[in-house]
């Protein structure tokens, strides 16, 4: 059952227009209309939408143009709160846009997307506030902003400078929307779990709680208490070895799958609290080495394919 939500209090739009799934659909429709390839979520556990090969690898490589958009379920085991914190989840959704090269009107395109989901810049206070982005595990960094809407960070906006330690040329612009946060704002609710997911009335109405609360409870218990650390360490080593082997075989995409697995296994180990401060940096370095190798092979092999 959907919790009685305040969706219609904060906005004049009907529920079907502000529900969580409509947010995803509208963003997809909007960015498709701007020439983006609508890719589907990647079928591995990742910490953020950036990990999707459509971003990490396609930010590099021979394509002079690559515009894509997709929703990506993302997992951050340490952020789990057993479903008890209204603003924190270990599994959540990011909406990701990558446009390479960055279009000259990318800020306006972005503002257009806010309008498309019901945030009219004329009624709100939209600000671009300095925020440099870095992913130590991907060997990636860029400059940009966090975009504020009435004081709330709704999007990370980054001009990628490097990915996998390789200079981006051309430079892509990456937009990452935090969908749950945006939705709580649009629907006017204080808890993510109160979000209206499907926007229908009656018994078929489903809230975020209906769909994900049990998962938050159970995965928090798994992440923090029950994941078998010895096995995680073994799996990490296996993924690392497999990745190295595949790099030797010059199979960039399967190798990168193993890199993503290693990254998620590291996140789980981190949540289990079994990685010390010094070890932490070393593990991040190991994942970064894999990511760099994958990116290098990708740049080479994708260029061969293009030739």
């Amino acid at each position: 059952m959907a919790a009685p939500n305040r969706a219609t209090e904060g906005t004049k739009l009907p529920r079907a227009e502000t529900c969580f799934q409509s947010l995803i659909l509208k963003l997809q429709t909007y960015w498709a209309s701007k020439g983006c390839v609508i890719v589907q979520p990647y079928d591995l556990e990742v910490g953020a939408g950036t990990f999707h090969p459509a971003t990490t690898l396609r930010a590099l490589g021979p394509d002079s143009h690559w515009n894509c958009a997709y929703v990506q379920p993302s997992r951050r085991p340490t952020d789990g709160r057993y479903g008890e914190n209204p603003n924190r989840l270990q599994h959540y959704y990011q909406f990701q846009v990558l446009m390479k090269p960055s279009p000259p009107d990318i800020q306006d395109l972005y503002l257009g997307s806010l309008k498309a989901i019901g945030i009219d810049p004329m009624e709100h206070d939209i600000r671009f506030v300095e925020d440099d982005w870095e992913s130590p595990t991907l060997g990636a960094w860029g400059l940009g902003w966090e975009v504020w809407c009435d004081g709330m960070e709704v999007t990370q906006f980054t001009y990628f400078q490097q990915v996998g330690g390789i200079e981006c040329d051309p430079v892509p612009a990456e937009l990452t929307y935090g969908l749950e946060r945006l939705a709580t704002y649009i629907q006017g609710v204080d808890s993510i779990f109160d979000l209206d997911w499907n926007g229908v009335e009656g018994p078929a109405s489903k809230s975020y709680r209906d769909i994900y609360h049990q998962a938050e409870r159970e995965f928090s218990a798994f992440n923090f208490e029950h994941a078998t650390t010895e096995k995680l360490f073994d799996h990490f080593k296996d993924a690392e070895a497999e990745c190295a082997m595949l790099i030797d075989q010059r199979l960039a995409l399967p190798a990168y799958d193993q890199c993503m697995k290693a990254s998620h296994l590291f996140n789980l180990l981190d949540a289990r609290g079994v990685i010390s401060v010094q070890e932490r940096a070393a593990y991040i370095g190991r994942v970064r080495n894999l990511a760099k190798a994958c990116c290098e092979i990708w740049v080479e092999t994708s260029a061969e394919g293009a030739a």
């Binding site: 904060g10 914190n85 209204p86 603003n87 090269p101 960055s102 279009p103 000259p104 800020q107 810049p121 004329m122 009624e123 709100h124 206070d125 939209i126 600000r127 671009f128 506030v129 300095e130 440099d132 860029g142 400059l143 940009g144 902003w145 809407c149 009435d150 004081g151 709330m152 001009y159 400078q161 981006c168 040329d169 051309p170 430079v171 612009a173 704002y185 006017g188 204080d190 609290g273 010390s276 401060v277 010094q278």
Partner: protein, 692 residues
């Protein structure tokens, strides 16, 4: 004379970089103009989140013509040399003049360089300046090689009211210079043309952009203060935040928001940190200084609902932030600080210096040891040191690291710890710099000193010393902290002993030798003392002179002595005796080189020949004991006046007595007398390092 207006329009420039960038750009353009012989009468710079504008008044319309005489090759030199000279200066042979310089007959040419039009010079001047401009961090975008802080979108360049023709190359594209700009992103979209700076500023204002940061700052300050006054409240002064917010808006609209009453029992520091650091809100206070349940947010927007939606959104965000904070506050208090100590076992302080728990144990022992010198209760000092780092494992400090220590105090009080212990937990990181408040309560002073001594000595022991501008472990700050804690609280102790104690507690492998570390740390603290005292007008050479004497490593004593010495040297007797010292030391050095055997003879008053040497010998014998006694009693001005009494016998000696007597024993005895003079003076300070 004409006006030059330049505007560099970009995507949002980080607030913290704006002021510096504007100043740098003005300075750089000014020097480029001057280098071109284009002196101007006035320059001004303005900056907003999206633009840097520089205006120069009274720029000449063209350079002056320059007439220069140039000497060419010798008459009769090979044709080739002459050809080169003619070509290089653009003159014909019949324009040359032959002249005898006294060293031969040479060709001379008068070369006239016509001044160029400013308008012609400006394009290259501006593109050079833009290309050379250094941002703290810059980026590329799209397909261009060019770097700027964020994508540069347009360049306005107006000279004498008209657009300057030119363009900046981005590598594979260019940005042409223009005479148009944009106003507020949402309130006044679209480009418009301008014809002068006055026109530019006026049209920007109409397009909802306040160009001048000083004006925006005042609008924010006054607007926020007025909103506070409406509620009978006061705006909490926060110049740093004011500067930052000024750089986040082009059209400031202060709005008054309300903090949900449910959060008002969370410590005020938590509320203000959350509001300030994350949301850039200004905190308000009641007349009696308590945090009020309101805040001011500065929007960059005017809306049809007068900001109601914006405010509701901001209040919602704050609720989410503060409910996190309240969650931590409630959760953290459920667990006593004491029970968190085990968690410090797994936090590394430094790879080579062990865990945080190990540091805590060292600091406990040191704090106990320092209790006497600081007047602290040793049991309380020990307890405070034990609990000082426990709050690092709380949820609140995890979320707001800047609240470390402060949260520890709240949690300690909640656990029923002694208030002195709780305060010491809060205070022990202080002072963090020259302007930070310095702890004064004895237990706080003991723990703060112990923590810093352990850090400083530990890093020196593993050879992690600051080099140049690199000081990753903030050891300079730790040393300054030690200085301020000791000096401002009059804590009397031997630095060497304190350092040795800290070294003894370090149970680590591969630590550097005790004497080496002690010497290095004292020298390091001495250097920081010189820097710290420089602003107070204390001479660095006098600090060196007092500290370089063996044994004086009590900073309170050092500064007292330096004070007395500085006053003494400022007087006539002091200056005179300093000269006498240098003379004596000089003679001893020269004679010592000539006849090493004659040195070091015991002073034999029986060998005094002249009255002046007898008098000096007597005076020294008396003064030496009296000075020692005065120093013992720390009566430094007394010691100085005894010292001053030596002036006339010393003067008389140098006036009347020939040190290099013919008779070897008398000479050796006179040298011994000078040695005695030097030794007597060295009781006060090492005069050889005093300048002047």
């Amino acid at each position: 004379m004409a006006e030059l207006l330049i505007e560099l329009f970009s995507e949002e420039i980080p607030a913290r970089m704006q002021a510096r960038a504007a100043a740098d750009l003005e300075k750089d353009l000014a020097s480029r103009l001057t280098d071109q012989g284009l002196a101007f009468t006035d320059a001004r710079t303005y900056v907003t989140p999206r633009r840097i504008a520089v205006v120069f008044d009274g720029v000449p319309e063209r350079q002056e013509d320059v007439r220069e005489e140039k000497r060419g090759p010798r008459v009769g030199a090979p044709e080739k040399a002459l050809e080169g000279f003619l070509k290089g200066n653009g003159v014909a042979k019949d324009q040359l003049e032959e002249r005898d310089t006294g060293k031969g007959v040479f060709y001379f040419a008068v070369v006239e360089t016509k001044g160029r039009d400013t308008r012609e010079i400006l394009p290259a001047l501006l593109t050079d300046a833009i290309e050379a401009f250094g941002w703290p961090k810059s980026m590329r975008w799209a397909t261009h090689g060019f770097r700027w802080v964020r994508p540069l979108r347009s360049i306005l360049c107006l000279f004498d009211g008209k657009k300057v023709d030119g363009a900046l190359s981005l590598g594979d594209a260019e940005i042409p210079f223009g005479d148009t700009t944009e106003g507020h992103r949402f309130l006044a979209p679209g480009r418009f043309q301008v014809t002068s700076f006055a026109d530019y500023a006026e049209k920007l204002r109409a397009a909802k952009v306040v160009l001048d940061p000083a004006e925006r700052r005042a609008l924010i300050q006054d607007g926020a203060a007025a909103l506070a006054a409406d509620k009978g409240l006061l705006l909490k002064a926060d110049p740093g935040l004011l500067t930052e917010v000024t750089g986040l808006v082009e059209w400031p609209v202060p709005l008054l928001g309300t903090i949900d009453a449910a959060f008002m029992d969370v410590p005020p520091e938590v509320l203000t940190t959350s509001m300030r650091e994350h949301q850039k809100y200004f905190a308000l206070e009641t007349a009696d200084g308590r945090l009020a349940p309101h805040f001011v947010v500065v929007a960059n927007m005017e809306t049809a609902d007068n900001g109601a939606t914006i405010l509701a959104g901001n209040e919602k965000v704050l609720r989410a932030r503060l409910s996190d904070a309240k969650f931590f506050w409630d959760q953290d208090r459920a667990q006593a600080l004491e029970t968190r100590l085990g968690a410090l076992d797994v936090i590394t302080f430094h790879e080579k210096l062990g865990t945080l728990r190990e540091k805590v144990e060292r600091v406990r022992l040191l704090a106990r040891g320092l209790a006497e010198a600081t007047g602290a209760d040793p049991v309380k000092a020990d307890r405070a040191a034990e609990l000082a780092k426990a709050d690092l494992t709380t949820g609140m400090v995890g979320e707001f690291p800047e609240l470390q220590g402060l949260m520890g105090r709240y949690y300690a009080l909640n656990d029923g710890q002694d208030p002195d212990v709780a305060d010491a937990i809060a205070d022990h990181y202080a002072p963090q710099g020259p302007s930070d408040a310095c702890p004064s309560k004895p237990v706080s002073v003991a723990v703060a000193l112990a923590d810093k001594l352990d850090t400083l000595v530990g890093f020196f022991a593993i050879d992690e010393k600051p080099t140049g501008s690199r000081d990753p472990f903030a050891l300079r700050r730790a040393a300054l902290g030690i200085i301020r804690l000791m000096v401002e609280n009059g804590v009397r102790l031997s630095l060497a002993t304190a350092i040795e104690n800290a070294w003894d507690k370090l149970d680590i492998t591969g630590k550097a030798a005790r004497d080496k570390v002690t010497g290095e740390v004292i020298a390091f603290i001495g250097d920081r003392l010189k820097v710290a005292m420089r602003d107070k007008g204390v001479r660095h050479d006098l600090i060196a002179a007092v500290m370089s004497q063996g044994g004086v490593d009590d900073l309170v004593l050092v500064l007292k002595r330096v004070d007395a010495l500085q006053a003494f040297l400022a007087g006539e007797a002091g200056a005179n005796l300093l000269t006498a010292y240098k003379r004596a030391a000089n003679i001893l050095r020269i004679e010592g080189e000539k006849t090493p055997d004659a040195m070091g003879a015991a002073l034999a008053p029986g060998l005094f020949d002249q009255d002046e040497e007898k008098a000096l010998g007597r005076a020294l014998a008396e003064a030496r004991g009296e000075i020692a006694a005065a120093l013992e009693e720390e009566d430094f001005s007394g010691a100085m006046s005894i010292f001053a009494g030596l002036r006339s016998p010393v003067d008389a000696f140098f006036d009347e007595v020939k040190v290099n007597a013919d008779e070897a024993v008398i000479r050796a005895n006179r040298l011994a007398l000078l040695s005695e003079l030097v030794r007597t003076m060295q009781q006060i300070a090492e005069f050889s390092v005093i300048e002047g």
